[in-house]
Symmetry: C2
Subunit: 475 residues, 2 copies
């Protein structure tokens, strides 16, 4: 089904064994998949099921199902597969003696860290730490990474209010904390942005504002939200209007920071709002946030759970901002295949042990895997590949959008690697029909088609994707 | 250092290669460990560090450090190692092709489950599902397992209040939920017990009541707590008084269920309060809770994160209660090396997809490992071993307590496998000195010594432990 293109000839394939293009044998789900889904439904949630996969048969950018269908995957397990299915370098790491020991001898890292934990961090997670941040607290998923960062922020702020690390808790604080009441359990907040997404546990969900279905019926903290800029596209034609919009959002943020009844200890923001509809803002907006957080002495947490690890053509999306003053904490997960938050300021370590603690505190097995991912990204120069492929893909989509202006609206993500999206008036139909032409693609927000290919996505894959989309639009 | 005992002769060793006893070469931490700890401290939290370990050198019940010391481990990574360090059966599972694929091709299980996920669940996690519970929602750690159970409880209760699964959300609910306000984000609660522990994320921490250090400076939901029975020991001598105490706690629970300003959707309780000091209650108390939750139509969540998977001499600790009406949800993690909650009632599946959802929704690699753990437990009959070793260990400790009544107070856990604890007037000193005689043991609550050996703990290990304790008491 792939349409050979001029771009193919110049590329060295990263995955020589990968299929030349999608292979479609049945409708999706086909008969084998239907049977397996009915079976799974008896014991596990399947109503959100998109496609049942056979990962042993999936290679590189291609995901296989149970009926012999093989699809080009530009969704990649909700943006969480970094370097291809069945990647041989990761397979080596996954079958190493170190990995085996990490799997079967999982330590409680806060109490009994393994002898090489510092080295695993330094040669892996910390080697790619954002500029200015040289420490890490490891976690298991984006949600708990964000919540741990929130906890660090609250402890930092209360310590500051208390007068430093050596001022001890009062008896009133101790008693009230055990009773879930202020001052021990303080009436403080995390400021997040409208249409932002930061997870689904109780604290993180209180900062998530993307869709009601995530939040309905779940008790939430009375925490504040500021407007996130609603930029108009094409950006070149709306520069002044967009700058005013960003200014408006900054002013709203400052107002909340100074007047909200439950004072924020930190703001959290995504470089690109990734579940809420692929909403972008300019570096000026984020620099403005950094200035506001400095001015009002609250922390700035950048949530790179979906944007991090190369997808925007930089290792971390916030590098696009060229900020001299780094964020206080940066959270990560998904493509890292592990999770946690980076920080630099030693004051963000709590003043006593066991305040930021849990049994496992991350997972050395997953830290070893992230190290292998980092090595593979460097070996194949995949961040640069993603920047270049992204430019190529964006241009081809722009051309396609000129041909089908009713189908591709507000194309966005220029210069942001393959982190590209557009609005579609018939989004869910487009996503569904894409499967029919051998493409697995997802949505975000109410009407965006979001592209989240892996870092091994090349121009030939971009061609297959764009040609497939054209077939969908023609149908 | 092991003192050979008569009990050895009758036992088939589960781990033929494990050391005959502890090997102590240096103080702990020794010189190599000190260097490594100083190194780690630059990049990772070490103030809660108990001992740095080399897991490749650790076998069976014995944990090795970096200085040639090898300790009998009755703490087992905070009760989370089930069948011994470097267990060969787990090693086989960890190096299988299925495991390698699970590690490198991690799926978003809610959208793109793997073809054999139902089978992995049925032959593993669900094969040991508590009686009456035939479904599971998988998670990553105890904290998020509990929070997912809370979310299920809130959705269930609101659906009931709303009038069934087909009654849709009102516009007011949708709007208010996005604003973190009732009725969309309802003013409802989870009832937990004083000195209970259920995790450290924002929702779970709001139900945790064990120690102020866990809770200070962290905002919490205004949720209620009931007293947990404070039983007097020996139980035989205080039966009537203890029954009154349990009745008092049940009455307090009922009062909260009927009058608390933020109505509970569920109660959560540990079969043995495991972080809060190894506090036990009788089956009558738990049956009373089940009756109360039925009477007032709230759910009963049993937190088996620490008690589950064999340690009490039953696979699940709540089996000791012989309840005909099972709990609504049972959460698990730690020795399962994965996490989640079991449930039976199909009404606990939310009425729409994406309400209970996250990117990974568990981890097939860890589910495969739990399956191997279950197989190993069955192959070696380890639940029965733990019941028998526990009885032997309890009796030996009782004798030791008669000899050193000032050292062993309120010995508890009789008939509860190796889930044994006692109060110690100089607990922290005892834990520290135990290292000197080659024993790694932990505490719980303010003054309990808690035993959390693995399921492969045998009588010969019990002898080494008891003899070691006697040396500590003599010192």
């Amino acid at each position: 089904m792939a349409s050979p293109s001029v771009s193919d000839a110049f590329e060295q394939p990263f995955f020589p064994d990968e299929p030349a293009g999608p292979i479609m044998r049945t409708e999706i789900p086909g008969p084998q998949s239907k049977k397996a889904i009915a079976h799974l439904d008896k014991v596990f949630e399947t109503r959100s099921l998109n496609m049942m996969a056979n990962y042993q048969n999936s290679f590189g950018n291609y995901i296989a199902d149970l009926d012999g269908n093989v699809l080009l995957d530009v969704y990649a397990q909700i943006a969480s597969i970094p370097v291809g299915y069945s990647n041989p370098s990761l397979l080596l790491a996954a079958t190493s003696p170190d990995m085996a020991s990490a799997i079967i001898n999982r330590p409680a890292l806060g109490n009994f860290p393994q002898h090489d934990w510092a080295e695993i961090l330094e040669t892996g997670i910390l080697r790619v730490a954002p500029k200015g941040l040289d420490q890490v607290f490891t976690a298991q998923a984006g949600s708990d990474a964000n919540e741990l960062a929130y906890k660090a922020a609250f402890m930092w702020k209360r310590r500051q209010q208390r007068g430093g690390p050596d001022v001890d808790f009062t008896q009133e604080e101790i008693t009230s904390a055990m009773n879930n009441q202020a001052p021990g359990a303080p009436d403080m907040s995390i400021l997040s942005f409208k249409t932002g997404f930061h997870g689904r546990l109780f604290g993180s969900l209180s900062t998530t504002r993307s869709k009601p279905i995530h939040k309905l019926d779940i008790p939430a903290f009375d925490w504040p939200q500021a407007s996130f800029p609603a930029l108009k596209y094409p950006l070149e034609e709306h520069a002044e209007e967009n700058a005013r919009e960003e200014q408006r959002c900054l002013e709203e943020t400052e107002k909340i920071l100074t007047t909200f009844h439950s004072p924020p200890a930190a703001i959290i923001v995504e470089p690109i709002q990734s579940e809420g509809g692929d909403n972008h803002a300019t570096p000026a907006f984020f620099k403005g946030l950094r200035a506001l957080t400095r001015k009002h002495d609250v922390l700035m947490i950048v949530d790179e759970v979906q944007t991090g690890v190369g997808a925007t053509g930089k290792f971390w999306a916030h590098e696009h901002w060229n900020m001299e003053d780094p964020p206080d904490m940066v959270t990560f997960s998904k493509k890292a295949q592990t999770a946690g938050y980076y920080f630099g300021n030693p004051d963000l370590r709590p003043n006593k042990p066991y305040r930021q603690f849990n049994t496992w505190m991350g997972d050395p097995a997953r830290a070893l895997l992230f190290r292998a991912i980092i090595n593979e990204i460097e070996r194949l120069n995949l961040v640069q590949n993603t920047a270049e492929t992204g430019d190529y893909l964006y241009n081809r989509l722009q051309e396609l959008g000129e041909k089908y202006p009713g189908e591709i609206q507000n194309l966005r993500g220029k210069g942001q690697g393959t982190f590209i999206a557009w609005d579609s008036p018939r989004r869910d139909e487009v996503l569904k029909k894409a499967k029919g032409v051998g493409i697995n693609v997802g949505g975000s927000g109410e009407r965006a088609v979001r592209l989240r290919p892996m870092l091994i996505f090349q121009k030939k894959h971009a061609d297959i994707f764009v040609d497939g989309m054209e077939k969908v639009f023609q149908s």
